[in-house]
């Protein structure tokens, strides 16, 4: 999952980014309203964490422009403005959630997870595909009841493919949702990660590979009926 944080306070931005990255999210940062809007329009984020009082362009204006531009990204407003009117205004402008400062990082993480689930229309944190089970809350993967160890990045790719189960997901989409802006678009990190992921899954499963390749198109996890 890829998250954009638009927050002018350096310390808050860094702390939130650290916690999200350590939780397996790809995180981009912006400290200014215009720059944040540009990144939001240029990339495909699962969630945008947006402050309201920003230099350059305030958060509500950026939010309005994003919604007017047809962007459906889940947006969480993070603000020191705590009145009911402020919250109503933020939600009416198109935000999906509103969190008032000071906040708990754990709560922020839970809300980001909830927004990601909502984005993929999945309410249950447990997803099962054949013998594969992933717990999005605990960030764990098991195959036929046997736990599988994997890195945060590998988990993120698998989670993204599971959430898009039955759909062909291109390398570009995986890059956009799993890797942050610092990853070179010409690198083959996605292919390498998929390769490693398949290896881990095949060690516990001797049947057909769960992640299948569609040549020239991308990767897919088939639905059980298919």
């Amino acid at each position: 999952m890829r998250v954009l944080i638009v927050e002018d306070s350096q310390y808050i931005r860094e702390s939130v980014a650290l916690v999200l990255r350590e939780s397996g999210y790809a995180v981009d940062e912006s400290e200014e309203g215009r720059d944040g809007l540009w990144k939001a329009e240029s990339n495909s984020y699962d969630v945008i964490i947006l402050d309201i009082m920003l230099p350059g362009l305030d958060g509500l204006s950026a939010l309005k422009k994003l919604r007017e531009g047809g962007h459906q990204t889940q947006i969480l407003i993070l603000s020191a403005r705590d009145t009911i009117d402020d919250r109503i205004r933020g939600l009416r402008e198109g935000a999906d959630d509103y969190l008032v400062k000071p906040f708990d990082l754990g709560e922020l993480l839970a809300r980001v997870e909830a927004l990601c689930r909502r984005g993929y229309m999945k309410k249950n944190p447990l997803h099962e595909v054949g013998g594969l089970t992933i717990n999005r809350h605990a960030k764990t993967v098991s195959l036929n009841g046997q736990a599988i160890e994997m890195t945060a990045r590998e988990y993120a790719i698998l989670e993204f493919l599971v959430l898009r189960q039955g759909e062909v997901v291109s390398r570009t989409e995986i890059e956009a949702h799993v890797y942050d802006e610092h990853v070179s678009p010409v690198s083959n990190v996605v292919d390498k990660s998929i390769c490693v992921l398949r290896k881990r899954l095949s060690e516990s499963n001797k049947s057909a590979p769960i992640i299948q390749t569609r040549r020239g198109q991308g990767y897919i996890i088939e639905t059980e009926s298919a």
């Binding site: 310390y11 705590d82 009145t83």
Partner: protein, 480 residues
């Protein structure tokens, strides 16, 4: 009871009672005077009639002989009205007595009763009020035969027999007294009824008249913190209440402004504190969750944020103390140029970085008597603002404000300013007000100028800001 209605009722009722008492008294005494005057006129006429009777020889001198018989009655043939003397229940009386007190002649109406005249009369020509032994009240005229009031022929005849005869003509005034009693009772009853009617009328009238006041009071009672933008409608109010309504509306305006400032202060304070609190909490939480991933400088960040919060709290505490007049002041003689140079020093690097020109126009050897620490605090805030908010390449000017005798009375600091109007200048000294609504600056929280003004007031100085073209100027001077 302190209600206006009760007070007005008491005053109006008292006024009506006094007016009624005066009017009633006037009516009573005028009527009484008229009745008594009529009686007096009648007595005067009766006296004349008695003269005539004597003059017409209807009575011979012999009848006045003491103890003589027969005693004749006077005969009043001419007018029927005087026959009342001769009725037993008549109300007109006459009586003639000699100096020894023996009744020589009396009217039939008097029967066997005797009219006792007072021994001394203040004015013999004026009728007097008397009372018979049976309690009958009389109005009487008393004459004496040798008093010179009688006609000459009569007086001569009297003299021939007796030296002095007392002649009394009187009327029974019981009926007049009864009439006056009825009148008085009528006046009392009318007065009581009028008082009752006045109470009812005044109560209703006051209720009607004061209803706009009650409505105004009811409108005022509806005012709370959420309705301070409401104003009282003075269109339908009586002219007496309009000035009150205007003052109330002015009061509402001032209250609304004060509440707005308080709300803004609370909101700004919350925001100024929420952000650093969030920073500290998040930095600490991240360090607890992922200690191995936290960069080495994490504690320094927490410390820097904590110091910023401490600065806000100290500034607020200082403002609170100075409002109570509890700031410690130690007046000493300070060299203005020296203190200005000292306070400029920490900002020299930033001025160079922004390519600012700092011009000082203060004569050397100028001294001010003030508290050095508070004065430094003012200068630090003003210089910091001037350096921070001047656009690059601008001119920051510090000038001494002097009297004609070159005695320093203050200091002015000016710098170029971008997009600031007079309305914003009015807000400059409000706590937490910032031109930058985003509040992204971490070095300024919007308390500096509030603190500077509080410091200035603590040392009896005045700090004001004024826009002069594209520059803003802060004048700091002694109030007197």
């Amino acid at each position: 009871m302190k209600s206006i209605r009760f007070r007005l009722l008491v005053w109006i009722l008292s006024g009506v009672a006094i007016l009624f008492a005066v009017a009633g008294s006037c009516i009573y005494f005028a009527f009484r005077y008229e009745l008594v005057s009529e009686i007096d006129d009648e007595l005067q006429q009766a006296r004349k009639v008695i003269y005539n009777v004597f003059e017409n020889d209807s009575l011979k001198p012999g009848v006045f002989v003491k103890g003589g018989t027969p005693r004749k009655r006077l005969r009043f043939r001419e007018e029927e009205r005087w026959r009342e003397f001769d009725y037993e229940d008549g109300e007109l009386f006459y009586q003639l007595r000699d100096t020894g007190g023996e009744v020589l002649l009396r009217s039939t109406s008097l029967a066997e009763r005797t009219i006792e005249a007072p021994k001394k009369l203040s004015d013999p020509r004026k009728p007097v009020s008397l009372e018979l032994a049976d309690g009958t009240l009389l109005r009487a005229r008393i004459d004496y035969a040798n008093s010179g009031q009688w006609p000459e022929p009569f007086r001569e005849r009297i003299r021939s027999e007796e030296s002095q005869i007392e002649i009394i003509v009187a009327r029974d005034t019981s009926e007049t007294g009864q009439t006056l009693s009825f009148l008085l009772a009528g006046i009392w009853i009318a007065g009581i009824l009028a008082a009752g009617a006045t109470v009812i009328f005044v109560t209703v009238a006051l209720r009607q008249g004061l209803s706009p006041l009650y409505e105004l009071g009811a409108d005022a009672a509806k005012v709370d913190a959420s309705r301070l933008s409401d104003r009282f409608n003075d269109k339908d109010l009586p002219s007496e209440l309009r000035p009150i309504c205007e003052q109330l509306n002015h009061l509402m305006e001032r209250l609304e402004n004060s509440f707005d400032r308080e709300r803004r202060f609370s909101s700004d304070l919350a925001h100024e504190m929420r952000t650093p609190v969030t920073e500290v909490c998040n930095l600490a939480e991240a360090a607890v969750l992922f200690p191995e991933k936290v960069p080495a400088g994490q504690y320094r960040k927490i410390l820097a944020t904590g110091k910023g919060m401490r600065g806000i709290v100290e500034s607020l505490l200082f403002l609170s103390r100075s409002e109570k007049g509890a700031a410690d002041i130690e007046v000493e003689r300070i060299d203005l140029a020296e203190v200005v140079a000292e306070c400029l020093q920490p900002y020299a690097a930033r001025a160079v970085e922004k390519n600012l020109v700092v011009e000082i126009a203060i004569l050397p050897g100028n001294f001010l008597s003030t508290d050095l620490n508070l004065f430094r605090n003012i200068l630090n805030n003003l210089i910091s603002n001037a350096i921070e908010h001047s656009p690059s390449g601008g001119l920051v000017k510090l000038e001494g404000i002097e009297t004609s005798s070159e005695i320093p009375i203050g200091l002015s600091i000016s710098n170029p300013v971008v997009e600031m109007n007079s309305a914003e200048v009015d807000l400059l000294f409000d706590r937490f007000w910032r031109k930058d609504q985003v509040r992204s600056s971490t070095t300024h929280c919007g308390l500096g100028l509030s603190v500077a003004r509080a410091c200035a007031e603590a040392v009896s100085m005045k700090l004001e800001a004024v826009i002069k073209g594209s520059r803003i100027q802060f004048d700091l001077r002694f109030e007197n």
